[in-house]
């Protein structure tokens, strides 16, 4: 495998990790919420997609018209009805509560669906590939996922910098107390923020279910990958999260090229090395 090929395959894989990480990056950036249940919400989305597909006969991509609104509503409700009550007490209460949510989701899925593997089937696109000059083959599906990640982040940037709602999100992120004094209803805004984060979680979940098998315990590993992408990229920076995902993907591709057993390990090592060299990540934005 040539060096260029490793970069391309790893970079595309990184789009996938970035997609995992967008929701986490958003909820941390706006409300400093470290959502331990983030990976489980991704897996939950895949199961919701599976139910939607079984119930309606839609294909996985089309099932997003059901999964996305469902997860938005769930996110809004969880923030409004539960997490908003944990905000006053510092970092620890939301950490513990989302840890509890994580346990509930994993065991709820285990109870409802058993410990079996599931997959979502999208058809020929899963194995289709493009032949580039130089003997490099690029999978169509990884390309689609990467494009979704880029478009998703671009859409969020538009929201943040071109809309009234986005301006309010940035203000609350800067200084929540003053934002409230200027007429912003922080609690409602936080609920919207987790709702929007869940839109990306829903997309990530369904695309994840098409790419690989999932089971009720698949969440924590997604959480770790998402965390690493967010932290490599720098807290609060959306494009940084994309770069963070790509760094992770490329490190894994390099590791795998050296020895297939080293793929996952190489990603974690890259994460640790960047933490040592740049503890705030590559493009930090959020101030504490």
């Amino acid at each position: 495998m040539g060096g260029l090929n490793i970069l391309i395959q790893g970079g595309l894989l990184g789009g996938f990790y970035a997609l995992f990480a967008i929701g986490l990056s958003l909820s941390f950036g706006i409300m400093r919420l470290v959502n331990i249940a983030h990976g489980d919400f991704i897996v939950l989305s895949a199961y919701v997609g599976m139910l939607a597909i079984q119930g309606t006969g839609l294909d996985p991509f089309s099932s997003l018209v059901i999964v996305v609104p469902a997860m938005f509503v769930l996110g809004y409700a969880v923030q409004r009805g539960l997490l908003n009550f944990t905000l006053a007490g510092g970092l620890l209460p939301p950490l513990l509560v989302t840890f509890g949510i994580s346990v509930i989701i994993q065991n709820g899925l285990l109870q409802g669906f058993g410990a079996y593997d599931h997959r979502l089937h999208e058809g020929p696109i899963e194995t289709a590939s493009l032949h580039l000059p130089g003997g490099i083959d690029v999978g169509v599906y990884p390309l689609v996922v990467f494009a979704v990640a880029v478009l998703g982040i671009a859409a969020l940037q538009l929201l943040f910098y071109q809309t009234r709602l986005g301006r309010a999100f940035r203000a609350v992120s800067d200084d929540a107390d003053t934002a409230e004094l200027m007429g912003i209803d922080n609690r409602k805004l936080y609920a919207l923020a987790l709702g929007i984060a869940m839109v990306f979680t829903a997309i990530a979940g369904v695309l994840f279910g098409i790419r690989t098998i999932f089971d009720p315990a698949a969440g924590p590993i997604r959480l770790i990958l998402a965390f690493e992408a967010v932290i490599i990229g720098g807290l609060g920076s959306m494009w940084g999260t994309l770069v963070g995902g790509m760094v992770l993907g490329i490190a894994q591709a390099i590791g795998a090229a050296l020895n297939p057993n080293w793929q996952i390990l190489a990603g974690h090592i890259a994460f640790l090395v960047i933490l040592i060299i740049r503890p705030n990540g590559l493009f930090p934005r959020t101030r504490d």
Partner: protein, 233 residues
């Protein structure tokens, strides 16, 4: 004179610490009133309680005859009370214009708009694309006042406008107050700079250690009484 704001026996706490002890204040429609007092007298606490940032019994804060004590700050903004917080507190990652626009989040109608704020502070129009932290202290204070005006308040609470600013800058900012009160806006000035505050207002209240020590008109009051009320001697 129509009463706009009245506090009755208003007390406020930070945890177990009591910062205000039964404050009774009355502010009429269109007045400019100063609240003075030494550091820690409870001036800022009073403003924060009126703005809803601190808990209070409903009847302790009456605004236009309505009990608003303990309401959420964003609901109080919607009723027409705006705050220029101590230390400006502009949003650091927003541009000057975005800071101003954020002030209009409550969508109250009234005389103030982006155009009117730029007429009042022409310098801000030139600086509108810059990030808020790149402005000088005086310019930031103008932006903070403009941001509060964008909510078209009936009552404007100004906390330490002069803090950390050069005398010539303070003079410029206080000159703009006239244009604000000319729109019928009622202004409460909290200041440690006593003379500045008294020059700009018709009446004053002096707080001392969380209690009301003196209330008087700013013309022909007894300086010795003010000294006693201020220092508690």
């Amino acid at each position: 004179m129509t009463l706009l704001l009245r506090t009755q026996n208003l007390s406020a706490f930070y945890g177990d610490f009591q910062a205000l002890f039964g404050i009774d204040v009355e502010i009429g429609q269109g007045e400019t009133v100063a609240i003075i007092g030494a550091n820690g007298a409870g001036k800022t606490t009073f403003l924060r309680a009126v703005a809803g940032a601190l808990a209070a019994p409903p009847e302790a804060v009456m605004f236009e005859g309505r009990a608003i004590g303990g309401m959420a700050p964003h609901d109080i903004v919607r009723l027409g009370i705006a705050m220029v917080p101590e230390g400006r507190r502009l949003f650091q990652s927003l541009s000057v214009e975005e800071n101003l626009l954020l002030g209009s989040h409550s969508e109250r109608n009234g005389p103030w708009s982006l155009r009117r704020v730029y007429e009042l502070f022409p310098r801000l129009r030139e600086l509108r694309r810059l990030p808020a932290p790149s402005l000088s202290g005086g310019q930031q204070q103008m932006a903070a006042i403009g941001r509060a005006l964008m909510s078209n308040p009936r009552l404007l609470l100004c906390d330490e406008l002069s803090l950390g600013l050069a005398p010539v800058v303070i003079r410029d900012i206080y000159q703009c107050l006239g244009a604000i009160t000319a729109e019928g806006t009622t202004v409460v000035l909290v200041e440690q700079d006593i003379n500045r505050a008294l020059d700009a207002s018709a009446r004053f209240y002096c707080f001392q250690e969380g209690r009301l020590a003196l209330a008087a008109p700013t013309k022909n009051f007894d300086r010795a009484a003010l000294t006693a009320a201020y220092f508690g001697m």
